[in-house]
Symmetry: C2
Subunit: 336 residues, 2 copies
Amino acid sequence: MKKVTINSVAEYAGVSKKTVSRVLNNEPNVSPATREKVLKVFKELDYKPNPIARGLARNKSFIIGCLYDNPSKSYITRVQSGALEACHKFNYNLLIHPCELRGDELIHNVDQLLTTSRLDGLVLTPPFSDSQELIDFLKTQNIPFARVASALEDDTSISVCSNDEQGAYELTEHLISLGHKEIAFIKGHQDHSATEKRFSGYQNALQNHGIEFNEGLVAQGNFSYHSGADSAKQILDLKPMPTAVFASNDYMAAAVLKLATQRQLRVPEDISIAGFDNAPIARHIWPGLTTIAQPVEEMTRQAVEQLILQISDPSTEVYQKVLEAKLITRESTAAK
Amino acid sequence: MKKVTINSVAEYAGVSKKTVSRVLNNEPNVSPATREKVLKVFKELDYKPNPIARGLARNKSFIIGCLYDNPSKSYITRVQSGALEACHKFNYNLLIHPCELRGDELIHNVDQLLTTSRLDGLVLTPPFSDSQELIDFLKTQNIPFARVASALEDDTSISVCSNDEQGAYELTEHLISLGHKEIAFIKGHQDHSATEKRFSGYQNALQNHGIEFNEGLVAQGNFSYHSGADSAKQILDLKPMPTAVFASNDYMAAAVLKLATQRQLRVPEDISIAGFDNAPIARHIWPGLTTIAQPVEEMTRQAVEQLILQISDPSTEVYQKVLEAKLITRESTAAK
DNA sequence: ATGTACTTTGACACCGGTGTCATAATGTCG
DNA sequence: CGACATTATGACACCGGTGTCAAAGTACAT
């Protein structure tokens, strides 16, 4: 089985390789008869253009990179799944690149990635989507990128996020409507912009319902299950114990639930617990977690799709979108 | 900032591009003085070879593809993490490709992937690592591949797996040693070879301890949480109810735990529950799940590393390895 | 028939590397 | 010191596409 290249196709069809290239790329100025003829040869020889050769000629790789540093595996797989969907639609491929936000090496690390892989663009997921330093670097390097779930104000770069603040507001309101007044809150990782958004949604809801904010009910987590366990201990040890806990993500909420159960507390009778994200674990435990569903796949899908459009036509208008988050009530919250 | 290519380096160093290429690839027949000189220019100009051009010349892409179709997100991220580790070590990249095992399109789908992406090799994860059809296809296409966690007997292709049967045996023995005799079992997905391995480990342990195998205690799952929930219902409805449940993975075990808790059963006092895989969820719920830890990252890391060695030198001996699985006891199992 | 504008086509250089082979430089030994 | 083997180097084609530009073909108006 010999290799089928543009040359063999051209020879077989009796035209020049340039004409074959024209047909391949749907360029104008090919007579219908010629086009037909070449297309037939494509079929006969089962010709598939070599993306590497094309990449060399066009100085493109047709590969999008996805940067992440996130403790939540389910978040990452959801991100990947949305990104892949968009990539496949445009015949791009996805290269995944976990790396650490902290440390001076970030820029160097990304630089390395770019020069060794010749990526056409980057999708930044939290916490990278909030790193001003990284964004500035990418701009100087002229690398197209899109931000997912970023709170940074920058209308010169693509951004798709969901309304974290509103989601947190609704969830808090839900707890308040159930009669809760002492609602503890576990914050997320300091480097993630979502952390402040969710926190202020919580604060605003309290305020608008005439409940005084109490600093003592707030614990600092970092989105990891482990940090949730530490915060849970801190909160459940409070006297009096709050009647509800709102954790900034489901993993931390699961940790609260675990400790509460260990201490023989009944959930939700003795204490209500809520999370954020609607991660799989939220419905895999008992009681299921009341939470906020974020459209992670959809955010990433749109971000990557826009990124690819931007790459193929840099004059495309910069896309900025805020998607809605949705309250999901399960068994972990109940009236006081 | 101009582009630095092999040509500019050659010109700047006053040598031919071929000599630069020699230095780049550590080829012999370059005088130490010349090599030194060229290396210095590399540094001065901050030269990075273009992998696409190299790929075209060598007919290589330096990309490994990873095929998966697995309901467990944590399994997938663990696979990816091991694969990435090996890829980065050899300056390869990883392309992820979720696809469906079922359907006639599998071969076509993979064929498509290969021709459009020019992958240098494929890592097959369950259930693909057990698909004889796919393996035969890859062999005819002469595509290097490595199997992860496959039970298929084929000493002509790279394989790294863990000892599922022994793990299941040990876990069952653990339950028996706690005094359990009615141990229910939830099987995994029929397409996964691990399913039969784990099942026979369970059966063998029963037999060696003089406990009669009872078909009625076996439920058919498919590794998904949902199937675990169905099986849980079936098992907890049995009269008399078994005193222990061994699910073929942690997600299904978590589903059993959830239903048991919903029914006010105390775990492990009323019923012991065990899983397999040591997925994150095993320690995120209460009580924590007794389970078998599989070295997923390590399996994949070794598989990909060997795959790359195989690619760079096809005469490399075919690597086949079985890693050990390890019993992890937590709170979900106790004496009867 | 001729001029003009537009469409179609192909020759050829180029992207940035690698492989082949001829040639130049150097080393070895009688 | 000359004959020969060995090492170092570069010229050039090639991988499989795309971009540029000139030339050939076609349509239409005058």
